[in-house]
Symmetry: C2
Subunit: 336 residues, 2 copies
DNA sequence: TTGAAAGCGGTACCAG
DNA sequence: CTGGTACCGCTTTCAA
């Protein structure tokens, strides 16, 4: 059970000073070719690998970024993280993840933990974010970026999407397809994003001179969408509703399930759209027309910005917005 | 921009030696009550938090576990990790994640990276695992556990499922429901788990004295299932196939999609089952009867075992197997 | 009980 | 170019 080799071992085997070993490892200064070879041989022979802990300690640089998120299980999380991770690695940064499940106390613990691990910056991805965690991060004086959909970009450093434009485009599409009696279905929430989305819908309807019909339900899961249909099916028939723009895929899926169960043909009798492009949105039948958000790109951009901040290369005041994409699938139909 | 306080600062403020500070922080030895108070006050006042890097360095214990996985985006990954994470935290272990996307070179890098971060143990969750990574881990002398479905538990330290029993139970259910002409659909693969599953199917059919009909397709995605139907629909009709047991949810979903597109009623004309209990399996209509695997629990058990190994509390030779659960949903029907 | 001091594995400054 | 050495922040003997 040989102990891990250290620079000391390398130094002995190579017959040079420990400083020289450090130099060839880091390439910080000129070292004569023969010594370089000697050291590299020794390293090779011993299978020496620098102890990053020791390195970080003296450098006062951990080359680590922390991510505080709600739950890895949330579908888009993986995409965010992948973006962060890949770009982070490009800049030689490692990622430390901390799941909080939306719990405030855990969030505070997360900050503390990441701080103790000497992370150089933090990315917060949370649906239930609150100011306390932001204060906590500020207190530790760790640079951070918010990556979520719940605060106005004016207030915080954040990277976000054009929620309004996305729903507006989607609604435009319904209108272009000849729909006139369209419902916008959204979940009750105080999200910054929810407001924007609804606004997008209203903008589109206004432009076209159509009546805005907005329904708000509790919960953003499929059963909420299902229940909405169950409770409002009469209204839908009476008002000749031909299209429903839902604020997320789950809600839309609930609508689809209801239609399946009650013999309503989608898209023949009713057109439906979602938001988010969840994995199942293209697996269900009929496949769901929805909005794809470039989570990966957002993650990538975010970490890039954060690293710039760390390097003092840029003062990041303005917030970034990334583009969306309409995924045109089966649930929406031209009325002619 | 005050520098982070260190033990030095605490020591000065509290008017004690640095050793004493360390003692009250770690509770390693008796310290007189008044000094304890003084130190704690100082810590409080300064907002002092130990530098875990320095701590790990001297203790030669990082209290960190590494996870090497293919891709966070894989649905069950999050569940595994959550199990590992929660239990790990209970034992005061932190988790370092490394995604390899199934790439061998990246996997090797992962080991190297985790080693340099001084992780005390590694959990490997991979679909495309190869021996090289195992050799690499062994070379670094880091305790590890395999958490996957591709190797026989005899060969490695691993935690796995009763794949055979699960499919056997599912097949039993079809038989119990009166099905006699049942197809088992599986993807081409050299998985340990694939063999087991198929065996489960064959066991059940043998017991019942029924003919085993196994079809193997390339790929394990929905389109493979769809294509299978497209190519074998004639066979299915001619042989009065009433049930298809698929080796995973994606395949089953592909079958369902084909049925939807071609007017085959599920489960009236055909019963279908999947494996995995993917999120969408209960969202699609008809909802898919499938097998749920307790990923969270496996993660939890795994990390517990690993920690025991680290503490030398147990020599982990035997492999563990956890239970499955049949999720009875709409795609399967009693033939009377 | 308490403090001094020797490291843990590296980096980087300084003199040669 | 090279080697010696102080030090990063903390734990842990060892004596007192």
């Amino acid at each position: 059970m040989a102990r891990k080799p250290t620079m000391e071992d390398v130094k002995n085997l190579a017959g040079v000073s420990i400083s020289t070993v450090s130099r060839v490892i880091n390439g910080t200064k000129k070292v004569s070719p023969d010594k370089v070879i000697a050291v590299n041989n020794a390293i090779e022979k011993l299978g020496y690998k620098p102890n990053e802990l020791a390195r970080s300690l003296v450098r006062k640089k951990s080359n680590t970024l922390g991510i505080i998120l709600d739950d890895l299980g949330i579908e888009y999380m993986a995409q965010y993280i992948r973006g962060i991770d890949e770009i982070g690695k490009m800049y030689d940064y490692d990622i430390l993840l901390y799941s909080t499940f939306g719990n405030i106390d855990v969030q505070k613990k997360a900050v503390e933990f990441l701080s103790s691990k000497q992370v150089e910056g933090i990315i917060v991805i949370s649906e239930k974010i609150n100011n306390e965690i932001l204060y906590a991060i500020k207190e530790y004086e760790i640079p951070y970026i918010l990556l979520d959909k719940f605060y106005s970009p004016q207030d915080y450093k954040t990277v976000t999407f054009d929620f309004d434009k996305a729903i507006e485009s989607m609604t435009d599409l319904f209108i272009e397809y000849g729909h006139e009696n369209i419902i916008y279905l959204t979940e009750k929430s105080h999200d910054y994003s929810a407001d924007l989305k609804q606004q997008g819908f209203e903008n589109a309807m206004s432009k076209a001179g159509l009546t805005k019909q907005v329904f708000t339900v509790n919960g953003d899961k499929t059963d909420s969408g299902y229940r909405f249909m169950d409770e409002n099916i009469k209204f839908i028939h009476q008002n000749h509703i031909t299209g429903i723009v839902a604020s997320n895929d789950a809600l839309a899926t609930g609508i689809l399930q209801y239609c399946y169960d009650h013999g309503i043909k989608v898209p023949d009798d009713l057109s439906v759209s979602g938001f988010g492009n969840n994995k199942y949105s293209e697996l269900i039948r009929p496949s769901l027309t929805t909005v794809r958000l470039p989570y990966y790109d957002v993650g990538a951009v975010t970490v890039r910005v954060l690293i710039k901040i760390l390097r003092d290369e840029e003062d990041f005041n303005e917030s970034l917005r990334l583009n969306y994409e309409i995924m045109l699938r089966e649930t929406i139909k031209k009325l002619k």
